[in-house]
């Protein structure tokens, strides 16, 4: 895995960097690999951490990779226990505002609010279109990089 020494805080627009991760014991990785390929085919730089990561490790990867987005996939229901830990780790790393967090997989509708309150930018449930995921990230990135230019 490559490391960038200088986190840029995304001040210059460039290739969108996305870290995708599976945390916990859940080994369902069909969806996340499909999403990984589709983001890469859309021109993004994609780092997939592989299975069985801890919340701290995926946040570390996202920070080291200077990622604008962190995507996590859950199919076993453990998002309720693990997503708060991901946000704890993001805050501990001082990266909570810099990285947009996206969740995909099997998530009951009732849990969407809980995840959004934590700070999840968007939940993509079963049947989500690949093109929709790509355009969500692109638009969000355009808005963020646009804003940061204006702020300067």
């Amino acid at each position: 895995m490559t490391q960038s020494s200088q986190p840029s805080k995304h001040s210059k627009p460039g290739r969108i960097r996305v870290v995708l991760a599976k945390v916990g014991l859940d080994g369902h990785d069909r969806g996340i690999k499909v999403v990984a390929r589709s983001l890469r085919d859309a021109g993004m730089e994609v780092i997939y951490t592989g299975l069985w990561q801890s919340p701290e490790a995926v946040v570390r990867s996202a920070v080291q990779e200077d990622a604008g987005f962190l995507g996590l996939s859950f199919l076993s229901g453990s998002h309720t226990a693990l997503m708060p830990k991901v946000f704890d780790a993001l805050r501990a790393a001082g990266a909570a505002g810099d990285i947009d967090v996206i969740v995909g997989g099997i998530v009951p509708q009732d849990d969407y609010t809980m995840l959004e309150k934590l700070g999840v930018a968007r939940v993509f449930g079963p049947g989500s279109g690949l093109a929709d995921i790509v355009s969500f990230i692109q638009q969000r990135w355009a808005r963020r990089t646009g804003e940061s230019t204006v702020a300067r």
Binding site: H28, K33, V34, R37, G77, S78, P108, D110, G127
Partner: protein, 549 residues
């Protein structure tokens, strides 16, 4: 009008078709194989009935493994269940037994499947969630409390720590006073597909397979009515493979187990009759039927010709089937009932021995009781109302189905050749051959759906909002209760006996001995699943898997 008197029926048909309208889009199976508009005897060429089909219950078993098939006995309707603590699942089992069900099927939670205890940090949020939490023999005793293991047939979906859970089971039987030769049931215990698809493994492939050979040898000698493996294509398909890949990878796994059994000095006719299979029943109706039929034919031929099996019982492929979870949609979930019904019908027409039908709400959570009941009723309608169970292999002889059966069989042999070229099963795993092939196919299908080339009702066709359906919730206190119980066990058991039994397990494993006996001893000392897995990790090492994207 010109006269058609000189024109053959075939020429006239072709001329008619050439002038007629066709629906837009490609005509292919779900796996991407082209499909012709019409099949005729010309598609079968020189079709030798005896060689290709034979009679049911006879080589090559294409038409079914029993002479009577469903006229003798219907398939077993075996619904997979497990949740919460051992008591929760025990209560459900007793309810099912009281209703006359004799086949139990245990779903374990993710920590158990991964060989970690409920108190391990990685188990957080997973204890008792997707299945029942089992840490030690104490939990297994509670799971089967009041259930006579001499009368029940118990299927256990467990792979990485399968031998350990089997040791728990044998220990429970011993305590119940049930002789092991009376035990009937099935362990999934198929580690190869974990490397290909499901990702529940921890040791490297070779020692993992050796553990399976241990259970094959142990069962052949001590638990002769128990199926030590259910060689599974289900998860390979769920991970995104095509029907042909599912068929070929699964059979290749089966051949590998046979080869390792023979290499370990077992007689193929002593263990092959106890190898069983588990396939997916996906949504392309005829392709699935062809897959089941081709699977039996290939297995019978290879067991006889390549592995020298002499008994018919070694040649016939018994299988379980489950409808395709990955075909279900969160959108308009009631439609999932319809999908599942067609998929189940394909498994029945394919000649399965047992069947699990998925519930409509499984893209959202574990199923509710109402949803499970409806899924079971779906099988009962097929069995009792449609009439399809009255005739054996009713599609046998169909030009289309026989063509598909031949084609998927040829595809499987082509894939076997590629595995051989890669250097065999273990080398192909290490090169990521299976994982990459599956991921490629999954991506292709996802792109087709995204582009609207393949329609999925509710997702990219006939989209509309549907009212929400009830969601099954797991008791949030389960994890806490299970962790407390494990702490209590660790406090009260004889720690020295546990340590000694784990040391013995390690030394037997290091000396390449059969691990089942020392696992039973460790089980009886109340060593946990996680402790035994950790002990074996020290001997075998850990494996992180091949890169696959």
């Amino acid at each position: 009008m010109t006269s058609h008197a000189d024109q053959s029926p075939q020429a006239k048909y072709e001329a008619d078709v050439a002038q007629s309208r066709q629906r837009a889009g490609a005509f292919t199976t779900l796996s991407g194989q082209p499909v012709e508009p019409l099949y005729t005897p010309a598609d079968l060429g020189e079709f030798d009935y005896g060689e290709k089909l034979g009679y049911p219950g006879q080589f090559p078993f294409t038409r079914g493994i029993h002479s009577t098939m469903y006229r003798g006995r219907l398939w077993t309707m075996r619904q997979f269940a497990g949740f919460g603590t051992a008591e929760d699942t025990n209560e459900r089992f007793k309810f099912l037994v009281a209703k006359g069900q004799t086949g139990l099927s245990v779903a374990f939670d993710l920590p158990t499947l991964m060989g970690v205890d409920s108190d391990h940090p990685t188990a957080l949020g997973e204890v008792g969630r997707c299945g029942v939490a089992i840490d030690s023999l104490a939990d297994m005793e509670r799971l089967f409390d009041g259930i006579d293991l001499a009368a029940a047939s118990v299927s256990m979906t467990i792979n990485l720590p399968a031998n350990i859970l089997f040791a728990f089971y044998l220990a429970v039987a011993r305590r119940q006073g049930v002789p092991w030769d009376k035990l009937r049931g099935t362990l999934q215990n198929d580690i190869l597909k974990e490397y290909h698809a499901q990702n529940e493994y921890v040791y490297p492939p070779e020692p993992s397979v050796k553990l399976i050979v241990d259970s094959m040898a142990f069962c052949a000698r001590h638990v002769p009515q128990f199926n030590p493996i259910s060689i599974s294509g289900y998860h390979i398909r769920e991970a995104g493979s095509s029907a042909g890949q599912e068929l070929a990878f699964t059979l290749a796994d089966g051949f590998h187990y046979v080869e390792q059994g023979i290499k370990a000095g077992l007689d193929v006719d002593d263990f092959a009759p106890r190898l069983s299979y588990f396939f997916n029943a996906h949504s392309d109706f005829f392709e699935e039927i062809a897959k089941f039929r081709a699977a039996r034919r290939i297995w019978a031929r290879e067991l006889r010709d390549r592995y020298g099996a002499r008994q018919d019982r070694s040649l016939l492929m018994r299988c379980h089937a489950q409808t395709a979870g990955c075909s279900l949609t969160e959108q308009q979930p009631m439609v999932n009932v319809v999908r599942t019904a067609f998929e189940a019908l394909s498994a029945v027409l394919g000649g399965t021995q047992s069947l699990h039908t998925n519930s409509m709400d499984e893209t959202i959570s574990l199923p509710t009781e109402d949803a499970v009941t409806l899924a079971l009723r779906t099988q009962q309608v097929i069995a009792c109302e449609t009439g399809v169970a009255n005739t054996i292999d009713p599609l046998g002889g169909s030009y289309f189905v026989e063509s598909l059966t031949d084609r998927i069989e040829a595809e499987a042999y082509d894939i076997f050749r590629r595995i051989d070229e890669a250097g065999g099963m273990i080398a192909a795993i290490e090169q990521g051959f299976f994982r990459r092939s599956i991921a490629e196919t999954a991506y292709r299908l996802a792109r087709q759906i995204d582009a609207g080339e393949r329609q999925v009702i509710g997702v990219n066709a006939f989209v509309e909002d549907a009212p929400p359906i009830p969601v099954h919730r797991i008791d949030p206190t389960t994890e806490e209760r299970q962790v407390a119980r494990l702490a209590e066990l660790k406090r009260t058991r004889d720690g020295a006996a546990v340590g000694a039994s784990l040391a013995k397990l390690k030394s037997v494993a290091a000396a390449d001995g059969n691990t089942i006996e020392p696992m039973i001893e460790a089980a009886e000392a109340y060593a946990t699943v996680g402790e035994m897995v950790d002990a074996l990790k020290q001997v075998y090492g850990e494996y992180r898997g091949a890169r696959d994207w």
